[in-house]
Symmetry: C2
Subunit: 513 residues, 2 copies
Amino acid sequence: MSQIRHALSVKRADDFAAWYQEVISAADMAEESGVRGCMVIKPWGYGIWERIQRLLDNRIKATGHDNAYFPLLIPLRNFEREAEHVEGFAKEMAVVTHHRLIADGKGGLVPDPEAKLEEPLVIRPTSETIIGDAMARWVQSWRDLPLKLNQWANVMRWEMRTRMFLRTSEFLWQEGHTAHETAVEAKEHTLRMLEVYRACAEEDLALPVIAGEKPENERFPGAVETWSIEAMMQDGKALQAGTSHYLGTNFAEASGIRFQDRDGGQQLAHTTSWGVSTRMIGGVIMVHGDDDGLKVPPAIAPWQVVIVPMLREDDGDGALIDYCEGLRARLAGASALGEPVRVLLDAKPGKATAKRWDWVRKGAPLIVEVGGRDMEGGKVSLLRRDALWGENGKPAFTFPSLDDAASAIPAALETMQASLLAEAAAIRDRRIDRAITDFAGLEAFFGEGVKHPGWAEVQWSKPTGAALDAVTERLKALKLTLRNVPVGAPPADGTCIFTGSPAVERVLVAKAY
Amino acid sequence: MSQIRHALSVKRADDFAAWYQEVISAADMAEESGVRGCMVIKPWGYGIWERIQRLLDNRIKATGHDNAYFPLLIPLRNFEREAEHVEGFAKEMAVVTHHRLIADGKGGLVPDPEAKLEEPLVIRPTSETIIGDAMARWVQSWRDLPLKLNQWANVMRWEMRTRMFLRTSEFLWQEGHTAHETAVEAKEHTLRMLEVYRACAEEDLALPVIAGEKPENERFPGAVETWSIEAMMQDGKALQAGTSHYLGTNFAEASGIRFQDRDGGQQLAHTTSWGVSTRMIGGVIMVHGDDDGLKVPPAIAPWQVVIVPMLREDDGDGALIDYCEGLRARLAGASALGEPVRVLLDAKPGKATAKRWDWVRKGAPLIVEVGGRDMEGGKVSLLRRDALWGENGKPAFTFPSLDDAASAIPAALETMQASLLAEAAAIRDRRIDRAITDFAGLEAFFGEGVKHPGWAEVQWSKPTGAALDAVTERLKALKLTLRNVPVGAPPADGTCIFTGSPAVERVLVAKAY
């Protein structure tokens, strides 16, 4: 029993980083590809991404954006136009220099020197500079604004240290890009999309997040304002789960996005961009995983209910499968979380107990086992992934009748979705210290002996320039970072823990991924 | 009137290639990006692709495939393992050689010589070689088979002559990859996916296609069998709209996809691959477009019904919009082609007549105009894109009541979907000549003076090797190609038009994109 219960070889409390890798492998979500820094996203991991895509895409379309697609390769000259932007990305760009291979005479291949590109092309690390070109062509008059676009795409940043889902050289994301008549409207839109991300994180992924503005030295390269949502992992670290940028007229200037305004004058457009990526899946693992594997919030579970017949490879299997089909048929019209319930009947050959633990590790929200005795009694054995263990140390099965199961399942999915969020939010809130009043307090909170401290929300005087960099350096020595200035935090009423000056606002301090 | 009626400046009959480009531009589907050979897919074009993706993805999942994601970049060594495959693609591969840029000292950027990759990486032109690596890791036993995967992705082939949607350096596609225990099962699967493509082309895109096997010198590099679906464009040319390959054990051998069989022996898996791309959108344009622009089959139209209130920018506009909202509300529960009807209320500022022609050029299936007089009479003005012109040379509006419109709209969408397919099939069938019995007949059918001849289905002896290449060369002189050997064609009963030997089957000959 104990062997089965401790489904993973590493516990969160013992080695969180190793546990994270093991969940990914045990839940069959992804693996290293053999190509430096690039992972293979396996069906269960990709299925979760498809669910996130679907739900977030609906939200993005509901706020008036159209999807479009722009080139993967970007000419160097596009980057040269925005100095801060290229400074931010030049160190990690994959560069295409040739368009043909030839035999090297030793049985191998080499880039053909005759097919060298006149101008190298870069694999997009983000698409402001190429979408800016298109916006410059499309925007002529204030009547063409706002222009609201979104792209689902792969991007590439040549990261030195990679970690599956959290930081990979290639990753999948959506990037929204909009152009507006005025700064006010563009800033409003930046915050509107931040709110879309908050809603998606909390309502769809059950990830409680804190939305706020990044300090100026943490802005996206080329941005005037950068906002983020930050989620707390079970080890107390912060994960930046999405960002939304007000770009001012910087990229409009670089790309020439000009329009005739309502008075007939020429103006630069104000642009925004915002993105979330497959990184969010890393957040789901680190917030909702446990020592038995992953728990997938029902809204993003590829399968919400997995029915496992306890096959015996004899004549009785047909009747058992029919009985399971009966449950599936009863669920056919059922909805949970605004969509039809997604049910898999896993009738592949194999031992039912082994399959149960496979689905536990994968984090399927509800597992329904059906054996001969269940069938005789007109019942099923129902297991909730978020309430796996009974007080007796055994899996906490309940045994509803077929009809009761059919009506209980949609309700259980909705309950689970809400309770995963509520539990994570409660844990997070307990672990944010808002009472630290000086730097020594901060040092103590994050001190050597403290393993998983959480976050500190402290008052500060919002230093800028060199003074801010000094704060960042001081924090860096403690492996800490400034996360964001939370929206809706209480007004400051004390002194800055960094400078001792009167505080003007509150800022989150944390270790971070 | 004539200025409006001839919405495009070029007619199909005058210059089909120029007409094609103009439809793409007039329907606002895509444009050149400024990056060599790469296009920007604009919202209307991308919306059509999203619809195709959704419908085809459902079909691919219904046949038991899971989606997954594999790296964009492929090491050279992966290609070196399969000689034919690399031979087929080496000439057109984009090669990444550096992972960082540095300043060139003249205000520009260059690849950093210090950041040269030890082994160059290629942007995937197709993913057999990288997915093969993963399959080799995942397949151990016959119990792991069949393994059925699909990927939605961008790929890159450095094409010298490009044409939007039809042939671009970067394009979007899905690529399916499966591994099987036996040749028989893998071949069956190859044909199953060909049938999925046929059904998608005909039922979703209203593109009538002929499914068949490619001659051996037209196979995918490394394949044992290649099958295609071929669609006839309005200029009589063929467009290969999808391919399905039986790869034998070639890629299994190259990647090491071996399994323990049912008798305990070691076997190579038999693999398949199959793909369709954004090229299909080019087919939709060239089959369903007319001199007024695009016609989008309702199943793949981002908006199936566009309601255009004739706004006057005065106090009456509110009532008009409310009236339009009434129609939208009546359609809220309506379904057509198995899905909720997709309705846009286009209440943006602008002249209603201009908007009407915009939507005609874009090919929205149904346009509903609502003016003050319509509202007074409790009616709407309904225009079907596939029956645009009345006998009087004016737009063929009908004027149903609000309730009648609401019930007529779903039916009209279903009728239009069926009739677009039926009309295209009838035209195609009239233009296939099956009575040609010798090469002279073929020359006459495709002769100089004949502008848009169509296709010839001829009998042949299925030559191979050098004899087949000789046939291909002879056809090439006439700008003709062998398309495929149609599934279900009548048995041969004559002589080969190329060799004079007894014929063994029938093959399609056509000019092609």
